[in-house]
């Protein structure tokens, strides 16, 4: 068709589009084009900012237990409750401790994984490692936690198998270690994917050089690879720490209500006690806590791979 028509349809469509574009966005405004291109993304993220402002408003209103409505006047009563009630301190401490432990364990397992994946000569092995990483990453938290319930539950596979050899069933879920374990499994793909680019950036020749100067592999890891991989560790560490600090699904499913994290406490305020004010207060304090953790890590160790940079030509 296009061979016979002198002026194909696509050209005519493009011409109309160009005309419309030139009419509403003339050449003289070309300098502002980048901002126009950024506008949709900025507006979308603006929804989150609006949400934060709305939460700030709710957090300053207390719940009237007679009418179950939020008060008209502002007060700091919710913040006072959030910092004085012992329950919230227990939950906050449990989440923070978990974040630290999960980060440490995840990084220890993620590093060998990322190292092998980046350094292996076999492209088949690399692909297998990548698939083993992406498959759970793309399956989602709920299904994965469900898988753990089948394996570790009271009538789960492990207990059934133990029963076959005469060992009485053990309680393997609904406790703190189970939540930690589930979180490590959830975080591994994140950590490996943040570490791998940092490892790719380390030239293999450096390790060979360390080896030819007489360092065994442990020493060349300790003095060459690990220090050079530091930006990757910081990036991965910050991501894993903030994600596990604020997680909801793993404590809810593998903790069975007895191991609530901060996010679960916030959810309960909204959907169990219906205290929107206190819930919003806790949510804002979690946002602040997350930012403090990130800020602390960045000021102690630098921004690592998360530093914003743009390659200039």
């Amino acid at each position: 068709m296009t061979s016979r028509t002198a002026y194909p349809l696509t050209w005519r469509i493009m011409d109309v589009l160009e005309g419309v574009a030139a009419a509403i966005w003339p050449r003289s405004m070309a300098r502002a084009t980048p901002y126009l291109m950024l506008a949709p993304a900025i507006l979308l993220v603006g929804l989150l900012v609006l949400g934060l402002l709305q939460m700030a408003d709710s957090s300053l209103r207390t719940l009237d237990t007679n009418t179950f409505l939020l008060s008209e006047n502002y007060s700091l009563a919710n913040y006072r409750r959030a910092v004085t009630e012992p329950l919230f301190a227990v939950v906050a401490w449990r989440s923070l401790l978990a974040a630290v432990i999960v980060t440490a364990v995840t990084l220890i397992f993620a590093f060998p994984y990322a190292y092998l994946m980046v350094r292996t000569r076999s492209s088949a092995l690399r692909k297998i490692l990548l698939i083993a990483l992406f498959l759970p990453f793309f399956i989602g938290q709920v299904v994965r936690a469900y898988g753990w319930l089948i394996i570790l539950g009271n009538q789960g596979m492990v207990n059934e198998a133990l029963g076959l050899v005469g060992i009485p069933p053990m309680r393997l879920i609904y406790n703190y270690p189970a939540v930690l374990f589930g979180l490590v499994q959830y975080m591994l793909p994140f950590a490996v994917l943040m570490l791998a680019p940092a490892l790719t950036a380390i030239p293999e020749e450096l390790e060979a050089a360390a080896g030819s100067l007489g360092a065994n592999w442990v020493r060349s890891f300790r003095h060459v690879v690990l220090p050079l991989c530091r930006p990757g560790f910081i990036g991965a560490g910050v991501v894993v720490m903030t994600l596990s600090l604020t997680d909801f699904a793993v404590p809810a499913i593998l903790g069975g209500g007895s191991q609530d994290f901060i996010a679960n406490a916030i959810y309960d305020q909204f959907f169990r006690t219906s205290d929107q004010g206190l819930g919003a207060t806790l949510a804002l304090m979690l946002v602040a806590l997350g930012s403090i953790v990130v800020g602390l890590v960045f000021s102690l160790f630098g921004a690592g791979t998360l530093a914003v940079s743009r390659k200039r030509k």
Binding site: L47, L48, Q54, L135, I139, W217, T242, L286
Partner: protein, 266 residues
């Protein structure tokens, strides 16, 4: 250069533990979905497809799955233009307040999901659109948007400003330059980004939990709500849908851009 045996052993010990831990839930869910018994036991009672037959009859599960697909579609359709344009703008132009804009666009990652979800729930509630499905798609798009922007900026190395200038020099007006030169150059990033957005939206749990009510639950929320009671194999069968989608996404990603793209250093 030969690797020392001790290094191999230590590395592989960690990697094997990691692989088993990563894959165990997937394999077990797959296995449990084919069981012939009414509860999940070990060793299994035998093989059957009866739980797949059961879920194909369950209209609540099918509807929940269709709603999830719709949410993921809305999310991806919104994310592609917004993320692509923003990614190109950040990679190509030296905009003012660049650091500030980049930090701002990372807000969906720095604000905890529960915070974002509650905030969106409050403003959607005020706007009177809570209880509809499309706002869930928009919300899921917002919280994952940095993935889309990141994917596009990462592929902007293929973007050569000289090519765009050459096209303009040959008389191509701005939109033609954009659609025939700029966009094809960042296409691998757009594909990676939209696949990520779609699959993450399909799995999104917490934000869906906050923004949906009993009438419009998405599949992950439906599964979560059913987990509370006794563990039955029909949940495993429906979970296999997610495993299949995940596998499909990996194959597509590998075919279209190659999984190794995630190993590249910046």
């Amino acid at each position: 250069m030969r690797e020392p045996l001790s290094k191999k052993l230590v590395l592989w010990a960690f990697v094997l533990v990691a692989i088993v831990t990563l894959s165990a839930p997937t394999i077990v869910v797959l296995g449990a979905s084919f069981t012939a018994g009414n509860i999940i036991t070990f060793p299994p009672d035998g093989l059957s497809l009866k739980w797949y037959a059961a879920i194909s009859q369950a209209s609540d599960l099918r509807n929940a799955f269709l709603r999830t697909l719709w949410v993921a579609a809305v999310c991806t359709v919104v994310a592609i233009p917004a993320g692509t344009l923003a990614g190109i703008a950040l990679a190509k132009y030296a905009v003012r307040f660049e650091r500030t804009i980049q930090t701002y666009l990372l807000l969906p990652f720095t604000i905890p999901l529960i915070g974002s979800g509650i905030g969106l729930m409050l403003i959607f509630g005020q706007a009177g659109i809570l209880g509809q499905l499309w706002p869930v798609g928009v919300a899921v798009c917002v919280i994952n948007l940095p993935f889309m922007i990141w994917a596009v900026t990462a592929s902007a190395a293929g973007l050569d400003p000289d090519l765009e200038l050459a096209a303009a020099n040959c008389g191509a007006p701005p939109l033609q330059v954009f659609f025939f030169v700029t966009l094809p150059a960042v296409m691998p990033g757009v594909i990676t980004g939209s696949l990520l957005m779609f699959i993450l939206a399909l799995n999104e749990f917490l934000v869906s939990l906050l923004l949906t009510d009993a009438r419009i639950v998405t599949l992950p929320v439906q599964i979560y709500n059913s987990i509370r009671s006794i563990i039955t194999p029909d949940l495993a069968a429906i979970s296999v849908v997610f495993i299949a989608c995940s596998g499909l996404a990996i194959v597509l990603l590998d075919r279209l851009v190659g999984l190794e793209i995630f190993l590249k250093s910046k």
